[in-house]
């Protein structure tokens, strides 16, 4: 029996929360974030009002899936038992070129190759048949 079979599931996103359009976008291979219809600025996480101009009018629109690693850390403690099988695991902070940020994980890169400033592109990884997560890999699709 492999260790991963014995582990509890990892936490899943809340599909009934205000970020639902984002999670639905990932299922369709797009990063959709809220854009203010008054000042045009993108934002994430979701909020009814724009923090910049306070307009309540917004639309979820796809953004370019490229960005860079601003920073990262490596977890050696199992806060979530579902992650025990891949410890130590890295969480990266990615800033997309549109300015919106995410905490995420890298795919296909060992922890010791992570660098701040590394260019990355989105990977849409299935967590369940109904839920995809936004992860990243080095830009260009190569290692």
């Amino acid at each position: 029996m492999s260790m991963s079979q014995a582990l509890p599931p990892k936490p899943l996103p809340r599909m009934d929360g205000p970020e639902r359009p984002f999670w639905e976008g990932l299922q369709e291979g797009q990063i959709r974030v809220q854009h203010c219809l008054s000042c045009g600025k993108p934002r994430f996480p979701a909020s009814r009002y724009c923090p910049h101009c306070h307009s309540a009018e917004s639309q979820w629109r796809a953004v370019d899936p490229h960005g860079e690693i601003e920073t990262f850390c490596i977890f050696h403690k199992a806060y979530f038992p579902g992650f025990v099988g891949e410890m130590p695991y890295a969480v990266v902070q990615v800033k997309l070129d549109c300015g919106v940020r995410f905490f995420s994980n890298m795919v296909g890169v060992s922890n010791d190759r992570l660098k701040t400033g590394m260019r990355v592109e989105a990977v849409f990884e299935s967590a369940t048949p109904a839920i995809a997560l936004l992860k990243f890999r080095p830009a260009g699709g190569s290692q």
Partner: protein, 377 residues
Amino acid sequence: MTRLRAAVAGVGTTDYGRMPEHDAYDLGMWALTNALDDAGLGFADIDAILVNRIPDYQRFCEIAGMDPQLVNITPGHGRYSGILLDTAVSLVMSGRHEVVALVYGNNGRSAGVAYGGAEDSYGSGGGALWFPYGMTSPGAFHAMMMRRHMELYGTRPEQLAEVSIAFRKHASLNPQAVMRDRFDLDGYMNARMIAEPLRLLDYCLINDGGVALIVTTPERARDLKKPPVYIRGSALQTVFADSTFPPDDFWAGALTSVRKRSFADAGLSHDDMNALMIYDNFAATVLFSLEGLGYCGIGESGSFVEGGTLQLGNRFPTNTSGGHLSESYMQGWALNAEAVRQLRGECGERQVQGATNIHFAAASPVCSSIVYSRDPS
């Protein structure tokens, strides 16, 4: 520039550690009783009470048998120590309240409070959005900042180690501290990683305890039991925009603002400070604070702390109680109590000789800076 007219007349602390027989109300009562005794005041003398982390203000005052004019309650975030001290200064300077009690009670250790995992509520709105990626805990948030600092400025683990080594050395001289066994660089480097680059020894200690402070006017304070410790400067600055993520500037902009305003009001500067009390939820925060407050240049905190700069006997003894890393995580409150006790000369083996001015500061989404002095403005 505003001349502040406020003083701390009493401080009270409890034991720190694991005390499952005490809830947060009990710990607050224990601390407040000690603070009132320290000041030579009674419960009926309190005009206004601001409670922090204690679950319910009504129940607390019912237990204390007191009916103050003003009451307020605040969430259990460490930034509230600076906020409530600043508020107390405003209350006594307004002339509308004369004796303000600040009461903090924390039974986090016995209650099994977790700062990471499914119950993590740290940050702007809480972090549940990121749990699917395994992102959780204030420690990881600060580890992200420390990694970026290392990559931007070349800061090394051996330099970060100076912070926790110094504070543990101070704790070894403090009978009230929970962790008193000294360690050296090897001990630090061999500590297990939690959220790399932060090791266990870079983390604060979750414990039970309580702290209370009595703030009043300088005139009233001079009539009380202990010599007044004057609050000569105090300033706050929030940093909420985009605060789901760590700040690009390590809070330097806000720290510069609070330092300038509080120093201007105090009529004092860096050179006048005999000791520092710097909010140390994590050792990394101390490095960011030293830069933002202007004790060293931006990016230079690593080399600044080398050679024991923060240790007793050197230029800027910092967190002489052991701080959150080694005394107990009393969320800023015990550091303010330590500042007062140092200025009264009550600190025994860890006393900073001739201490006249002490600077407390906290780097967080609400930055605070408080200047304490033995001498009035």
